[in-house]
Point group: C2
Chain length 202, copies 2
């Protein structure tokens, strides 16, 4: 007697779903069974969305955010934005959180990562040349360094600030301090130190 | 100025992923971005698995478990199984947990649900006729009712037991009592009541 198992296509679907981040064996099995019980339309729809996204989504040649293939992204194409304000982020996925905060109306620049020699990521692996070129094209612009506040982010910000000194631009770094709505009791020592160092007169 | 958003195919992929059970807005966005950053192969592979599973997986005409289209499932096709032992479950997804327990070597019968008048599920919506026919084909067989121990499961078990009285078969119900490894302090009153009622001599 052989133990009952799912048919091969189900096992393959489970394996494919399990490769997604945050989806374990049980979760992948539950998702696969859900698709089977929903009927063909649901599975076909996700399959079509996956293929369409994989085929038609590209990287904006200007800023590195997502765009439709062969086009710049909607921000770079938007004449209503302040093109003399460049916000430098690590990843394309960092753009929408800033956008949703409603506090920025300039253009973005996605580096594609942060300097991290231990992970083999050096400045030449990032979109630094393109940034310098975009800044040179906009004399007197402001460059906001919105990279992360971890060690690699700090190193990246310092490196970029150094590279930008010879250009006609103002360089700023987003503030570090207490996150909104947090009690002092939950803040770590480094956050508190930076919040005190960065204090502002009222 | 328009707020920067993802290209339309990305938004559609997020919407499709979000329909999966247990995946919220943030989770769907994270998964979609992961697919975009993995490149086309990963998205295409999941898409292919989804389409293959949707097209080639069917329901076993004998027991209602998953099977390859046009075939019976591996258990029904397995001559090494005890065909005079039928385990009745609510859903096809209940089969593998029993199978993995290693404690059953007969055939299964998936009802497709449980009697629940409030949800509009009546006995005629379940694979009861097929069960009666399978039992009639196996005089002297044993039918193990492995439906759930909730109210609807109990009602379904009682209904099936009644339907089966006129047939030449033995009907049993899986035991109810303390789950393995649980302390008495965590058991609810109904579980304890059933565990005491179902006590066995040592």
């Amino acid at each position: 007697m052989k133990a009952q198992e799912y048919p091969q296509p189900v096992l393959e679907l489970i394996a494919a779903l399990k490769r997604m981040p945050g989806v374990g064996s049980r979760g992948a099995e539950r998702l696969a069974l859900w698709f089977l019980q929903q009927g063909r339309a649901e599975a076909r729809q996700l399959a079509a969305s996956l293929v369409t996204a994989a085929d038609s989504v590209a990287t904006c040649p200007e800023c590195g955010f997502f765009s439709n293939a062969g086009e710049t992204c909607t921000a770079c194409a938007d004449a209503g934005r302040d093109s003399r304000l460049l916000c430098v982020v690590e990843q394309p996925t960092d753009v929408l959180p800033i956008e949703r905060s409603g506090s920025f109306r300039g253009l973005y620049h996605c580096l594609g990562g942060k300097i991290s020699p231990l992970d083999g990521v050096m400045p030449e692996d990032l979109a630094v040349d393109k940034l310098l070129q975009r800044v040179a094209d906009r004399p007197g612009c402001e460059v906001i360094l919105a990279v992360g506040s971890d060690v690699e982010g700090e190193a990246t910000a310092l490196y970029l600030a150094e590279q930008l000194t010879s250009l006609d631009c103002r360089v700023s770094r987003i503030a570090q301090g207490m996150p909104a709505g947090a009690g002092l009791g939950h803040a770590d020592a480094v956050t508190l130190m930076r919040a005190i160092e960065g204090r502002r007169n009222l």
